[in-house]
């Protein structure tokens, strides 16, 4: 989209749809462990995810576009995560927040699934244990760029 003289905005419908969709990616209220506390700090005024339009944490997967796996995924929680992901409406995105979600982190043992990407497809991995809130903000930014630059979503909503 580019600004034309006389304050006009010219752009394809798909671009407009992607611009609107990318600036309101609603995450699901699902906190697991320490990363969930940092996810709360992202909502707090100092880091303020509202600037990216993602401050509305929806309680039900039916209304959420983004699921942030914030914490370590245990063997008992893996089917629950899989079910939540399946019950989210398409198009949907996944952020694997923290080392534990991305690769098992410091817990290389029987109880933790060594990487949530063995259970659900992940779009953005956030390093850190827990990642600083800026890391999570940057991850949501990457998701927005994916949407704007032709990933899933848009007017004909490739799922």
């Amino acid at each position: 989209m580019e600004v034309m003289p006389g304050q006009f905005l010219l752009g394809k419908i798909d671009e407009v749809a992607r611009w609107a969709q990318s600036s309101s990616v609603w995450p699901l209220t699902m906190g697991l462990a320490c990363c969930a506390i940092e996810m709360m700090s992202v909502q707090a005024p100092q880091y303020d995810i509202a600037r990216l339009g993602s401050e509305v944490f929806r309680a039900s997967p039916r209304q959420a576009d983004l699921i942030i796996i914030s914490g370590r995924v245990s063997q008992k929680m893996a089917p629950v995560i899989k079910r939540l992901y399946d019950q989210m409406a398409d198009p949907k995105w996944v952020i694997s927040m923290g080392a534990c979600a991305s690769s098992g982190g410091v817990f290389d043992n029987y109880a933790i699934v060594q990487g949530v990407d063995t259970v659900i497809p992940v779009d953005v991995y956030v390093p850190g244990c827990p990642p600083t809130p800026d890391g999570l903000l940057y991850a949501v930014n990457l998701i927005q760029q994916q949407i704007r630059h032709g990933g899933r979503g848009g007017i004909f909503a490739k799922a």
Binding site: Q75, D108, N109, Q114, G115
Partner: protein
């Protein structure tokens, strides 16, 4: 195999509680036989022990009896008490040996309501059965998990991944770092993936 690469220098002690340094005896520590546990707890309760703090378990493979259940008690005043009245309450610690061929202990749920979850956890992670427990099921692990994870002979990374080499972070390794959940959980996910029909 220990998770860090460095060598593990195992200690020589077979039965550490007996080698405890006497200055550490800040609590009344007793070793009680399994049969006498129930009466001893009743006697303690009569003598003013008002709270069961915690029940833990430890696995000493070379020692017979192999397991040690550790009961922590606290003697708090039974009525409203200020800091002065609480003072320094008496701590009591009971060590109960449990043989591996007959891993059964009497459950304390009829005496202490809060013994329910710690006993279920010891059943789940050590395989020690508590007779008389109202709802003895796994509490931490998935309900269809096999094995007692906190026993010393249970591999740290679980039976499914015991032999898989640790990904050598230094080398360019094509071994995928992630590993799918193991055991029945993997089958449950398989069934669900088939029903969702994605790749």
């Amino acid at each position: 195999m220990p998770s860090s690469q460095a060598p593990s220098i195992a200690g020589a002690a077979i039965d550490p509680p007996t080698l405890r340094d006497p200055t550490l005896d800040d609590a009344l520590i007793e070793r009680v036989d399994r049969a006498a546990l129930h009466d001893r707890v009743l006697a303690l309760r009569a003598a003013g022990t008002t709270m069961l703090l915690d029940i833990g378990a430890v696995d000493y493979p070379e020692r017979t009896p192999r397991f040690d259940a550790v009961y922590h008690f606290l003697a708090l005043p039974k009525k409203q008490a200020t800091v002065a009245e609480v003072g320094t309450p008496k701590r009591i610690r009971l060590l109960v040996g449990v043989p591996v061929n007959d891993p059964v202990l009497p459950s304390l749920t009829n005496l202490w309501k809060n013994a329910d979850w710690p006993e279920r956890e010891i059943f789940d992670l050590f395989g020690i059965v508590f007779s008389g427990h109202p709802n003895l099921k796994r509490i931490q692990m998935p309900h269809d998990w096999e094995g007692a994870p906190l026993r010393k002979d249970y591999p740290l990374r679980g039976p499914a991944r015991e032999k898989t080499p640790r990904p050598a972070f230094a080398l360019k390794s094509n071994v995928p770092a992630g590993a799918p959940p193991s055991g029945k959980v993997a089958q449950a996910l398989e069934r669900q993936t088939r029903r969702t029909g994605d790749s």
